[in-house]
Structure formats: structure tokens, C-alpha cells
């Protein structure tokens, strides 16, 4: 947000009254400004450079005012005063006029082809018979600087040059030359330099060196000459000394060179609208002619006034107020948007002046009305939007786990998601190339080189920072890491992890292991191979050899735990043994009946929206119907309308006793308001029109009244003119063809899917009791044997050991079989074959699925 510094007393003089600081702050707040600071030059210098330097500085009170980033018309004292005075109804917004020179031709700026390689655009204007004072001059320079910093993006998009017109003579030429060929005396220098010399001269200039990069590596540099070969400026770096303006300057030539012509026009408009106030004929600007390389000419400044029409209903509806059309026109006029009611309904015509380049849509006008009304005068209402809240399941799980982990004696840590490459690779004894890390291209420090791929380094750093705390240190974090992921549109995705560390005089693997067991208990996963969880020795360079295990849940690896390698401990500047656990928690998400939100968006649009054409403003009626054919006939013909009129003679609605989609459909099929003669139809038409806002909410139709349009006979023209300004309308045909194609494709896919779906197979779930010979039978071996039985259509499930007495346990094991393929006899036979272990097999339960 740009900040403008103005002298308080000067401001109050221009405003015609004084304010207390509080009053002025209040005024700013209401208008959307912020009185950021009340200070003086002396205070600023003493704060920045010390009291000794400040002794000579002025102690005139300065107001530092924050201006919204899109309000370039408020970047100087002149603009601020104008804005506030109009707002307070003390002044009518001035009308800015472009005039021809009284005598002779307008000033000409000729652009050569050579500029295309570096900075192709230029615009110009003249301020005639201007009177500068020191304050006005300072403000004039300051505004250029503010514009350069903001809309001009540090001169890269636009650069402004202002010149004393009486020291130079047109026509002017804007061209581009190799740096060695440009030679002139730059502003405030005593001798001539070539452009090459200038670039090295300004390398050390605290102000100008920031702009050098814009043209530095270009083969040619832009330059503007007058008809005598005098250099006006070398944009965007420096002006010539010859044409510099002073307090005595009467006529100012302003040129703006640019890479973005829209912004150049705005900038030129701002300069001339703000300072034409001081011309002998206030608010008039003398035109200048710009000649393009192709011979085209344009007159600048544009100073275009644009007219927009909108309704007071629109503003009342969007803001939530209820004001008359006249009142709203007055509100808008107070925001420098001259407005009046047109008399047609509640229509208002709004004139957008050249100073308000920020107004690009009706919603901008609506906002200005709301500001003038006063945001804080608007009644605060509660929307009646009815929705049911859902938690994001992953966050819900995270919240539940966090609570319980803290209850298990571990303390939650919160670490940055960004870190150095070293943290996630070298320090953990890994190679960065193996980490799947997302790399940042422009970090300011090594702390932000990559997005973390593991939570462990963050927790170890937290421990290092808390080494003085009493042992043991027990920390955990549940948060996201980022991994490269080809399946995502951006090529990376987050993964929710749970990490815990235990730091003490002994490694405490059993503590971390216990935490894993507790976590699994919370997640309702049983300790067991197969359907449950188990851990299994693994090799990992982060952990001490032989002290690392991989965690498997339902056969899938979800993470690791173990005692950290002493090298890892040392690299994090720790001194005690440490054990750690890190695992994915996403595999534990349960199923939910609610629809899940994801941030993946469909890449192919299935629903075809009707998009308004460019010409259609916000108030434009809904786009024309695709079909006018209805059961009552063609609505584009008088006969069709007549038939509908007759139908409605004794009915309120097309269908039933309430408005429904049937009414909407028929309504949409009518191209324009029906003639006055068809009174029944007209009555119905006006009534249905009043449902426009809630149309989508109306009940659906019982039957179809509108017939589909005849498919277009014309084929899509491939060489359609791309420059067609009709944004989407022209694509309607193509879209419907496309839609039909997609629909067909989807149908085909669906059919294919359906055909692949196997016919219903009868299945049963069986629970078997397998009894061993005695209490010395190895039950794990027995289970292994049972599970080794494999048949087509047989799937082993969970098992448990059930004591039967005298220390003997039986194995209870579940399985699912396809009835056609596997019978219980077959199963029993196969199991009793393991005579060594199995005494008998019984079916404990049998259920059809």
C-alpha cells in the first residue's frame, strides 16, 4: 500500500479548514485511507540517522497517509484534496479537457521501429502556461516517483519524463540506439557521457541502480531526441540536463515510454489531470500527437470519460441498503463518479472520469456507492444460508490423535514446513536426490531451500533448542510434509505425518514402541500380521544399525521407528541417545458417508455454462434460449405466443398451482417480452420475471414443455476468427458438439465399465475351529500350515487363539469362499492333511454373504 507524505498545514489550507488529528483520522477511515503516522522531517531524520543530523531539518508536521494500491489519483496532495473535497460535497469534480494548441500544430512524438526491441510504446502531452511554486514543484516530482514505484512497477512497465518545452523544439523522435552511440549530459551532471559510461556511473547510485537491469542487457537503449538532436531522456534511466524543469518553467512536455501501453495511458492521464490545475486555463491539457512506425497517429492524452448504466436496484441488492435512485446517484457523484438517474426505471448513468482507472466493473461502482453511504451505516444482517458443517476427515483424525498423544505424555511441537537441504538429507544420512523433495528457486536464506519431506529434523532442532529442559524430552508433531507427485496437476502433494521423539540418557526404544502401540490402539488396529500391524527389522541410514524397524499396517509399510544413528544425533548438536518414530496417518482414514472435498479439480468441464458475451453488462438479461420450440408452438412466432396466451387465459402457471421450472423453461423460450395484446401471456410473463432471483430454487417441472432445438446444420468453422470480440457466444455450436462428444464418450466408458463388472457371485464367510493334538503343538506353525492352503476363490481372514482348557488352545480362523469353487468338505480335508499338527477341524460359523 503506497504511503503519501503531505504537509499538514498545506493540506488543511487546501481543504479550507483545520481538523484535529482524530477528526482527520476519522475522515480518512471513512474514505478508505489510513492516517498512518504523524511526524516531521526532523523526526524522520533523527530516527533514521540520529539526533545530531536532524538539528537543521524542518519540523513542519507531516501526515503520512496510506492510499489503496489502485487509487493512483490519490498519490499527491492535489489528488487527495480533490477526492476529499468532492467527498465532503465542498467541490464539484472538475472536468478534464484535452485542447488543441492555440497556434499551430500539436507537438509530435515520432516512434521509430528500433524501439520495438526494447520499449515499444510512448505517449505524450503538454501542460501549457503552468505556474510552479516550490510546493507544487516538489509535489510534481513526488507524484512521478510514486507512480514509478507503483503502477509503473519500478519503471519496468512505464517511465515518465518531464521537460521544459521552451528549451527544446519538436518534432521529437523516440528511437533506440546501441549504447555507445548515445551521448548526452544527464540530469544534474556537469559533462557528457555515453550510455555505456552512464550505466557504469549509476552502478553505485543508490537510487538509479535499481532501474539499470531493465535495459542493461539489451542491444539498443531507448532514447528521445528533439529536432536539433538534443537528448530529452534515456528512459527508463535518466533525463537530459538540458530540458530539466525548474520553478520558472512555464510549459511542460510530458512523455511516458512503456512496455505496457494501457498503463502508459493511465500514467499520462494521472500526471496531467493532477497538475493541469495549475495551468492558466485550469484542467485543460494540450494534446500531443504520437506517430507510430507504421504511420498511424494517435492523439494523447486520452482523458476518456466512459459511461456505464446500472440500476439502483443492483446497488441496493448488492450492498444491502434501500436508497432511492436519486440518492444513489448523489452518493456516486460524491466519489467523483458523476451520476444521474436516466428516468428509465431505476437506471442510473455513471460517468467514469480518466482519474478513476480503477473502476473496471459495475461492482467497483457499487463499492463506491457503499463507501459514500458509509460502510458502518449499513445494517448488519445475517445470511439465511443453510448448510451442514463437515470436518475435513484428515484434519478430524489429526485433531483426535493430537489430544491423545498429549495425554500419553508427549508434548506437541510446531515447526516450519520449509528447511534447508542439509536438514532433510545430509544430517539424516541420506542423499538429497533420493528425498523426492520440492525445491525452492529463490530462497533468501538457506533455511528455506526445500519443503520438508520428513518431520524428524524439525523435532530434533526443537530438542536442540530445549536441551536445558529436564530429561526425558518427549515431543511429537502431526503435520504435512511435501513430496513430488507426478499424479498431481502441480507435480507435488502433501502427506500428513505423525512423528515422535524420545530423548534421554537411554535410547528408550520401548517408549517409542509403546507410543506406536498406543497410537495403533487409538486407530483401532490390532497387533497382528496380515490385517493388523506389526514391525519388522529394516535398514535405514538415519537409524543405528540393527535398531530400526519398519511399521506395516495391513501389509503396507507406513513408516519407521528406531534408535537414531549417533552421527545423526551429533549433526543436530545433541548429546544423548534418542529414539524416534515417523509414519503416515493418511492410510488410517476411515470411510465416511459424506461427500469428500478434495482440491483436485476436474480438467474437463462436463457442465456447460452459458457465459455472457463481452457486451453484456451485469444487468444484461440472461442469454437467449437455445430453443424457442415448445409444446405450444414456436415462441418466436406470433402463432406460438397466441397459443400460449390462450393456454394461460384460465391458468396462473404452466403446471400446477405454483411457479416451477416449467414456467422458467417456457419463459426462457420466449425471445422478448410479449406484445400488449396478449394480456394473459403478459401477466404471466411479468409474474415469472419477478422470480428471476430465486429461479434456480423453484421446484422442478413434471413434464417437458420446451422441445430441444434442431441440431445446427452448419458445421463448426475451424478457421473461426480468433479476434472475434464475442467472447463465448460464438462457441455455442462448437460447445454443444463438444458436449455431445463428451457425453458419448462418457456413455461408452460407462458401458465398458458396466460390462467389466462381474456377475454377482455367491460367497460365504466361514469361521473354522482348528484343534491341535496337545498343548505342545506349535500354534504359529499350525496357523502357517492352515494359511498355506490356497484354492481359487478362497481368501483367508483374521484369526485368533482361543483357550479350550489344560493349556490347549484352538485356532479360530475366518475365511471367505466362493460357493461355486470351494466347499467346506474340501477345506476340512485340506487342513486335516497336516496330521502332524491338526487333530480336527470344525465349522464354527457359516454365513452367506
Amino acid at each position: 500500500m503506497p504511503t503519501v507524505g503531505v504537509k499538514r498545514d498545506l493540506l488543511f489550507k487546501a481543504l479550507g479548514r483545520t481538523y484535529t488529528d482524530e477528526e482527520f483520522d476519522e475522515l480518512c477511515f471513512e474514505f478508505g485511507l489510513e492516517l498512518d503516522e504523524i511526524t516531521s522531517e526532523k523526526e524522520i531524520i533523527s530516527r533514521e540517522q540520529g539526533d545530531s543530523k536532524a538539528s537543521g531539518a524542518s519540523d513542519i508536521i507531516l501526515y503520512k497517509i496510506d492510499v489503496p494500491a489502485n487509487r493512483y489519483d490519490l498519490l499527491c496532495l492535489e489528488g487527495l484534496v480533490r477526492g476529499l473535497q468532492v467527498f465532503k460535497n465542498k467541490l464539484e469534480a472538475p472536468r478534464y479537457r484535452r485542447v488543441s494548441p492555440i497556434s499551430g500544430e500539436p507537438q509530435k512524438l515520432i516512434i521509430t521501429k528500433a524501439t520495438a526491441a526494447v520499449r515499444p510504446h510512448a505517449v505524450a502531452a503538454v501542460l501549457r502556461n503552468i505556474t510552479f511554486t516550490q510546493e507544487r514543484y516538489d509535489s510534481f516530482i513526488e507524484l512521478q516517483e510514486k507512480l514509478h514505484q507503483n503502477i509503473c512497477r519500478k519503471r519496468s512497465l512505464v517511465a515518465i519524463g518531464t521537460h521544459d518545452l521552451d528549451t527544446i523544439s519538436g518534432p521529437f523522435t523516440y528511437t533506440a540506439k546501441p549504447p555507445g552511440d548515445i551521448c548526452f549530459k544527464p540530469l544534474n551532471q556537469t559533462k557528457e557521457y555515453t550510455a555505456t559510461q552512464l550505466m557504469s556511473l549509476y552502478k553505485t547510485d543508490s537510487h538509479l541502480r535499481h532501474y539499470l537491469h531493465i535495459i542493461e542487457d539489451k542491444p539498443v537503449y531507448p532514447v528521445i531526441y528533439d529536432s536539433n538532436g538534443i537528448v530529452l531522456s534515456m528512459p527508463p534511466i535518466i533525463n537530459g540536463d538540458h530540458s530539466k524543469i525548474s520553478l520558472k518553467t512555464k510549459n511542460v512536455f510530458i512523455e511516458c515510454t512503456a512496455t505496457d501501453v494501457t498503463k502508459a495511458k493511465i500514467v499520462l492521464d494521472m500526471m496531467v489531470t493532477m497538475f493541469s490545475e495549475y495551468c492558466s486555463q485550469p484542467f485543460t491539457v494540450e494534446e500531443a500527437e504520437v506517430v507510430y512506425p507504421d504511420g498511424r497517429t494517435c492523439i494523447y492524452p486520452e482523458l476518456a470519460y466512459r459511461k456505464e448504466k446500472l440500476t439502483s436496484e443492483f446497488i441496493n441488492r448488492k450492498v444491502g441498503i434501500n436508497e432511492s435512485t436519486e440518492k444513489i446517484a448523489q452518493l456516486l457523484t460524491r466519489m467523483c463518479l458523476r451520476s444521474q438517474a436516466t428516468g428509465v426505471g431505476d437506471e442510473i448513468e455513471v460517468e467514469i472520469p480518466p482519474t478513476r482507472s480503477d473502476v473496471i466493473h459495475a461492482c467497483d461502482i457499487m463499492e463506491d456507492a457503499a463507501i459514500a453511504y458509509g460502510f458502518n451505516n449499513i445494517t448488519r444482517t445475517t445470511p439465511r444460508t443453510y448448510t451442514v458443517a463437515n470436518q475435513f476427515p484428515l484434519n478430524k483424525l489429526t485433531e483426535l490423535l493430537r489430544q491423545d498423544l498429549a495425554a500419553a505424555g508427549f508434548t506437541e511441537a510446531l515447526n516450519f514446513a520449509l528447511c534447508s537441504q542439509e536438514d532433510i538429507a545430509d544430517k539424516l544420512g541420506k542423499k538429497i536426490s533420493e528425498t523426492k523433495a520440492a525445491h525452492i528457486s529463490n530462497p533468501k536464506t538457506a533455511e528455506f531451500q526445500v519443503a520438508r519431506t520428513t518431520l524428524l529434523p524439525g523435532l530434533l532442532k526443537t530438542i536442540a533448542a530445549n536441551r536445558k529442559m529436564p530429561l526425558p524430552l518427549k515431543l511429537f508433531e502431526i503435520s504435512d510434509v511435501v513430496l513430488k507427485d507426478e499424479t498431481k496437476d502441480v507435480g507435488a502433494s502433501n502427506s500428513r505425518r505423525f512423528c515422535a521423539v524420545y530423548y534421554n540418557k537411554s535410547p528408550g526404544f520401548e517408549v517409542i514402541h509403546g507410543l506406536l502401540d498406543r497410537t495403533m490402539q487409538l486407530l483401532e488396529v490390532q497387533p497382528a500380521c496380515g490385517e493388523g500391524y506389526h514391525i519388522q527389522a529394516a535398514d535405514d541410514s538415519t537409524f543405528f544399525p540393527g535398531r530400526c524397524a519398519e511399521i506395516f499396517v495391513r501389509g503396507k509399510s507406513v513408516g519407521r521407528l528406531g534408535v537414531l544413528h549417533p552421527d545423526v544425533i551429533n549433526r543436530f548438536e545433541l548429546t544423548m541417545p534418542c529414539s524416534a518414530l515417523e509414519m503416515d496417518i493418511e492410510p488410517f482414514l476411515g470411510h465416511t458417508a459424506e461427500t469428500l472435498l478434495t482440491h483436485d479439480v476436474p480438467m474437463q468441464e462436463v457442465i456447460k455454462h452459458k457465459f455472457p458475451t463481452r457486451n453484456g453488462s451485469c444487468q444484461a438479461p440472461a442469454p437467449g434460449p437455445t430453443s424457442t420450440k415448445t409444446v405450444f408452438g414456436d415462441m418466436s412466432t406470433p402463432a406460438g405466443l397466441k397459443a400460449l396466451n390462450d393456454f394461460l387465459a384460465d391458468k396462473s402457471y404452466i403446471e400446477g398451482f405454483a411457479a416451477s421450472q416449467a414456467d422458467i423453461a417456457v419463459f426462457d423460450a420466449i425471445p422478448s417480452a410479449p406484445p400488449l395484446t396478449l394480456c394473459h401471456l403478459l401477466r404471466w410473463y411479468s409474474h415469472i420475471k419477478s422470480f428471476q432471483r430465486e429461479r434456480a430454487g423453484l421446484p422442478s417441472a413434471m413434464s417437458q414443455f420446451v422441445l430441444p432445438a434442431i441440431p445446427p446444420a452448419s458445421t463448426h468453422n475451424a478457421s473461426d476468427d480468433d479476434d472475434d470480440i464475442d467472447l463465448f457466444g460464438s462457441d455455442d455450436e462448437a460447445e454443444s458438439v463438444e458436449a455431445a462428444r463428451i457425453k458419448e464418450q462418457r456413455l461408452a466408458e460407462y458401458a465398458a465399465k458396466k460390462s467389466k463388472k462381474p456377475a454377482l457371485i455367491a460367497k460365504s464367510s466361514i469361521l473354522l475351529d482348528v484343534k491341535p493334538w496337545d498343548d505342545e503343538t506349535d500354534m504359529t506353525k499350525l496357523e502357517e500350515c492352515v494359511r498355506s492352503v490356497s484354492m481359487d476363490g478362497l481368501l483367508w481372514g483374521q484369526s485368533k487363539l482361543v483357550p479350550v482348557g489344560y493349556g490347549i488352545k484352538k485356532l479360530q480362523i475366518g475365511c471367505v469362499v466362493e460357493d461355486d469353487k470351494v466347499g467346506t468338505d474340501l477345506l476340512e480335508e485340506a487342513i486335516t492333511a497336516f496330521e502332524e499338527y491338526v487333530q480336527s477341524v470344525d465349522v464354527a460359523a457359516f454365513n452367506k454373504i
Binding site: M1, F29, F31, G32, N70, R153, T262, R317, I360, H361, A362, C363, D364, I378, T379, R380, T381, T382, P383, Y386, V388, N390, Q391, F392, N395, R402, F410, E412, L414, F416, L418, A438, S441, N442, P443, K444, T445, A451, K474, D480, V482, V490, G491, A492, S493, L597, T598, H599, P602, M603, E605, I607, H609, F611, P612, A620, E694, A696, I725, L727
Partner: protein, 463 residues
């Protein structure tokens, strides 16, 4: 606990006398070390007002080890004198005696003996007087018998200098009967035990009083991170208000969703290298909804949907650049686009609280990553008044009731409002958040119905 026998004996002694006993005397008479009696006194003191003991200290003189030897055998010089026969003794012989060296010089200075250095066969020592009086021994014997007072201060000091005497301080207790004196004492219990409860003997026991001034033992517990606790509170508020949580678990976002879809122009300073973290790997996003992308391009470069547009050359290359998301509104944009892809629009209320990233150098007021809280409501005909009303409800749940709104600017909302609340402590209005109505240039290209308004607000969790 001191020996129970000693305690009992001590109590009996105290019982017999009226005024009291001295602990040292008791020790002497019982023939036990004084420290044993002191221990008994301490343990009796701890069981209540059985006895009262007054600490006394006294000084007295005692012989050192050397002093004891002298008191027994006589001073060194006297022993030298007595060991010299009349015919004299060779000096070398004398020096062989244990007391020879010290006794010789003392006896010489007292002129009790003489040395004949010229005698044949080496120096020889002879008596010079007939008899002597061993004063040192006599003085020491006086002290030993407890008659120290008969010695002059000067004499005592001289003996002290010769390390024959030493002054010792003795601390003793003057023990008298306490208010609840009794010769039979019961030991006070510190804690209730399972045995006491089982046997019921806690009824007879006396218990040591607790020191309620001391702090308790810190419980062995874990804690949640304070910021995450605040996050939980905010989540709760949103859920209470019927808001559904958005899936914000995607830190890496394309510029398209983070900026372009929000109608934030490509030259906007927020898209500068200085403000946003760009990625080098994966550097570009490779997939976009193509139709939507075209509409976004048009609205930026040419306008449409009732807008003038920004009128600049929109580049897909710029939109493809991957970044670390600068706001969670990128996810809101995805959600709203998906909402627009529904067959029929349904009103929604969404919220999210998650990390966002800015390329800042760390200092006290700037973090490179922080948590953004965001609320979004999409429905037909929402007004600016509705936004203020819902913000009022939201902040009331936070305990903030005084709100006012300042017009502001944001590329993707219009109107935009900064939310200020009155801070009772600071006595001024402070900014607490940002809010606004999403621009039609953002919503209409997505395909949302024209009369649907989307209101939104955001604040920082860290504030």
C-alpha cells in the same frame, strides 16, 4: 531416629529434675558421646511439645595431645634436665632422645644446663643448677583438673602458642519438660499406609503435619502447542456456524490457482520474486481445466463478464509457475470452481486454517510461513450487510464485539473491507482481518450463476 534406649533414659532424667538437665552432663554421666544425646533431643523435638530444649554454648580450655603427654611425663626441658647425669652427657647422645631437640633449647634459655664445646670427644652438656621446678607441667595439670581459672590469661595464651592448650566451644542443650511431657512417646507417622487402613490402627496413630507452603510435584504430562490450541478454537467456531472445512493439504500451488483465477494480474507486485517462493522442482504445473483457463485469460487480457479487464498480454507461462501458496484463497478458488461444475448450484459455507508462505526475511514481525484463517460463503443474493453481519457473529464468538469497517483494496474482492476492532487495553482500533465480496471477474469465468455472491474474510492465526 536416635537409639530408643537413650531417649527413654533421657526422658527419665528430665522427669526427676525440676528445672532441667544439661545435655553434656547427661552424656558424661551416661558415658555416651554427646552427639547421641543431641540426636535424641532432635528426635524428641520433632514429635511435638514433649520437651523444650534451649541451645547453650560454652567455651573451655582443653589440653592438646602434646599437652597431655607433658602433663603426664613433664615438659621437654624438664626431661632433658633430668636425663643429664652429674658427669654430663655428650650432646650427640642427648639429641638421640625424642624430646632432646626442643627440650635442649628451652633448658638452655632457662639456664638449667650448659654446653662445653671444647670437651674432648665432642660437645658435652652439664647441669648448671641443682634442681628445677617444672612450671609448664604444673600449669597443664591445673587445666587438666579443670582449674583453668587459676591461670592467668597471658599464661593460657602462651601455652596455646606452644600448642599445648586449645580453646573449644561446646554447644549443649538445656533440656526442660515440654507442655505435653511424657516419658512414653509415640512416633508420628508420615503417611497413611495400606496396612494402617487394613488394620485400622491409623486411629491411634499421630501424623506428621503437612507443609502446605510447598509446591506440589509437577504432573508427568504432555502438552498441546498453544498456537494449535487456538487453531482448535477457531475450527470449533466455524463448525458451530455450519462451515465445512476445505482440504488445504496442498502447500504447492500453481500461479494459476493462486493468482490468475483470482483475477490478480500477472504484473502484480505480490507475484514478484521478492514476495513469493517459486519452485525450481517441480517448476511448472502441467494440467489446467482448459476451457476455464481460456476464460481466465480473456477476462484478464480483454475483459468480459461486464468488465473492462486489465488489458495486458496474459501469458500461460506465468500461470504455470509453481509456487508455495501465498494464501489459502487458492484452495477457495478450486472449491468454488468445483462448485460451479455441479449440475445445480447449492449454497456453501467453507472455511480453512492452514499454512501459507511469503518470501520474507525472518524478524520479530515477519514470518516466512504463517497460518491463515479463511471463511467463505456462497449463496444467491448475499449483500455487504450480510458480510458484516456474519463477521459480527464470528468475532462475537471470539469475544470481540466492537467492530468497524474500513474501505480497502484487494485485487480479487470488491467491495473490500478491513475489519477493525476496538482494543480495550490499547484504547484504540486495531486491524484484525480482511474481508470482501469476490469480484465477478473471478466468479463468472468459473461458471457460477450470475446472481450468486461469494463473501469471504481472512485473518492470521499468529496475530
Amino acid at each position: 531416629m536416635a537409639d530408643a534406649g537413650v531417649v527413654e533414659t533421657l526422658l527419665r532424667r528430665i522427669e526427676k529434675v525440676d528445672d532441667g538437665v544439661d545435655s553434656l552432663e547427661v552424656a558424661n554421666s551416661l558415658g555416651v558421646d554427646h552427639q547421641v544425646i543431641v540426636g535424641a533431643v532432635k528426635s524428641l523435638q520433632s514429635v511435638g511439645d514433649v520437651i523444650s530444649a534451649e541451645l547453650r554454648s560454652s567455651k573451655h580450655w582443653e589440653l592438646t595431645e602434646e599437652g597431655m603427654e607433658i602433663a603426664e611425663n613433664g615438659s621437654h626441658e624438664a626431661r632433658v634436665f633430668s636425663s643429664i647425669p652429674l658427669e654430663g652427657l655428650a650432646q650427640s647422645e642427648l639429641m638421640k632422645l625424642s624430646f632432646g631437640k626442643i627440650g635442649f633449647s628451652k633448658a638452655m634459655s632457662s639456664k638449667w644446663i650448659r654446653v662445653d664445646k671444647t670437651h674432648e670427644g665432642g660437645p658435652r652438656i652439664f647441669r648448671t643448677v641443682e634442681s628445677i621446678e617444672d612450671q609448664v607441667r604444673e600449669k597443664l595439670l591445673l587445666v587438666q583438673k579443670g582449674n583453668t581459672s587459676q591461670l592467668e590469661e597471658k599464661e593460657k595464651n602462651e601455652l596455646k602458642k606452644r600448642k599445648l592448650l586449645s580453646e573449644v566451644t561446646v554447644k549443649t542443650y538445656w533440656i526442660t519438660k515440654g507442655n505435653s511431657f511424657s516419658t512414653t512417646i509415640t512416633k508420628q507417622e508420615t503417611e497413611l499406609t495400606p496396612e494402617m487402613i487394613a488394620t485400622g490402627n491409623w486411629k491411634e496413630k499421630k501424623f506428621k503435619p503437612y507443609n502446605f507452603e510447598a509446591m506440589g510435584v509437577a504432573p508427568d504430562s504432555g502438552h498441546l502447542h498453544p498456537l494449535m490450541k487456538v487453531r482448535t478454537q477457531f475450527r470449533q467456531i466455524f463448525l458451530e456456524m455450519g462451515f465445512t472445512e476445505m482440504p488445504t493439504n496442498n502447500f504447492i500451488e500453481s500461479s494459476f490457482w493462486n493468482f490468475d483465477s483470482l483475477f490478480q494480474p500477472q504484473q502484480h507486485p505480490a507475484r514478484d520474486q521478492h514476495d513469493t517462493f517459486f519452485l525450481s522442482d517441480p517448476a511448472l504445473a502441467h494440467e489446467f481445466p482448459q476451457d476455464y483457463l481460456e476464460r481466465v485469460k480473456k477476462v484478464h487480457s480483454e475483459g468480459g463478464f461486464g468488465s473492462q479487464g486489465y488489458k495486458y498480454d496474459w501469458k500461460i507461462e506465468e500461470a504455470q509457475k509453481n509456487i508455495l501458496r501465498t494464501h489459502t484463497t487458492a484452495v477457495s478458488a478450486r472449491m468454488l470452481y468445483k462448485l460451479a461444475q455441479q449440475e445445480k448450484f447449492t449454497p456453501v459455507k467453507y472455511f480453512s486454517i492452514d499454512r501459507v508462505f511469503r518470501n520474507e526475511t525472518l524478524d520479530a514481525t515477519h514470518l516466512a510461513e504463517f497460518h491463515q484463517i479463511e471463511g467463505v460463503v456462497a449463496d444467491y443474493g448475499l449483500t455487504l450487510g450480510d458480510l458484516m453481519g456474519i463477521l459480527h457473529q464470528f468475532f462475537t464468538k471470539l469475544g470481540i464485539t466492537k467492530l468497524r469497517f474500513k474501505p480497502a483494496y484487494n485485487p480479487y474482492t470488491e467491495p473490500s473491507m478491513e475489519v477493525f476492532s476496538y482494543h480495550e487495553g490499547l484504547k484504540k482500533w486495531v486491524e484484525v482481518g480482511n474481508s470482501g465480496v469476490f469480484r465477478p471477474e473471478m466468479l463468472l469465468p468459473m461458471g457460477l450463476p450470475e446472481d450468486v455472491s461469494v463473501i469471504a474474510w481472512g485473518l492470521s492465526l499468529e496475530r
